[in-house]
């Protein structure tokens, strides 16, 4: 085989890989086994509904400790959600490669894998960024809670 047909084969493979990966991936687009990480901190329920200046723990002597615990709980669930997102990105990439790059070797395999790995890296970065945002939000909720403890410093 001369170089020209080889190059044509390589470009054809490159062009078709994203389509093949999308069509055949067992974890398809629009599917997601993870909890929406952006909803973790907002799901934390600490405020007393009838008093905007109080939290459920306000009257307790260990209010500040409980607020801190609530924040840590929030962060743990955010980390779980992020880990799930990253695992999902890895799984999608692994199966996309298994389905789309089967039988390929050498440069053809590398070319086939490249866009899959690019997408995987991007999806993992989304999870990392979302986690950073959510950890900050959990921390803010915990701090707000502690500030509403009855024995909190004015």
């Amino acid at each position: 085989m001369t170089r020209a047909p080889l190059r044509l084969l390589l470009w054809t493979t490159l062009a078709l890989v994203p389509l093949a990966a999308r069509a055949a991936a067992p974890l398809g687009d629009g599917k997601n086994p993870c909890f929406d990480i952006t909803k973790v901190a907002s799901s934390l329920s600490l405020d007393e509904p009838n008093d905007p200046n109080a939290v459920f723990y306000s009257h307790l002597s260990d209010c500040a400790t409980l607020c801190k615990k609530a924040g840590l709980s929030c962060q743990r669930f955010a980390k779980r959600a992020a880990a799930c997102m990253k695992g999902y990105a890895d799984d999608r990439a692994r199966f996309a490669a298994k389905v789309s790059c089967v039988g390929l070797k050498g440069d053809a395999l590398k070319a086939c894998n490249a866009p899959i790995q690019t997408q995987r890296t991007a999806e993992r970065q989304v999870a990392t960024d979302a986690l950073a945002t959510e950890l900050t939000a959990c921390d803010a909720r915990a701090s707000d809670c502690a500030g509403k403890c009855q024995n909190a410093a004015p």
């Binding site: 067992p26 973790v40 799901s43 329920s45 459920f56 409980l66 669930f77 779980r80 799930c84 199966f95």
Partner: protein, 151 residues
Amino acid sequence: MRRPELARAALAGTLALASALLPAAGSRAGIGSLYTQMVCREMTDIPGEFDFETSFLGLKDCQKLCLDAALVCVRDVNDAASCQLAFASDWIASDSRLDCDGLSGSLLADCRAGWASDKQTWQSIIKSRRNSGRAGCGSLFANCNSHCSGT
């Protein structure tokens, strides 16, 4: 008894309608809830997030890939259950602390025992639903496998 029966009933039913019942449990009981909704996926919904029954048709390792994908499904079900068990633990620790506050002696012991019982019930429901989720993954595997073999 300070810990309202409604809270117990709501907790027992939480896994059936987790996100909908959690806020109701707290408000009806007149105590706080750590979260307004479940912050974990529901185990029985996980198999529905997989779509691999015909993904491996024509591939040499079709059946192996079916098994591999099903194991990923099971792992995600297990992760969701682990998340829910942690959620139940945190939720009950917070609400029991609020509910049993100010009690002492046998009243405190009763209050704590009641919440511990609720926690056990909740954990049992989570584990049962984990089994249902796993079974769902098993069905996906069976369908995938049958497509591979053309049956």
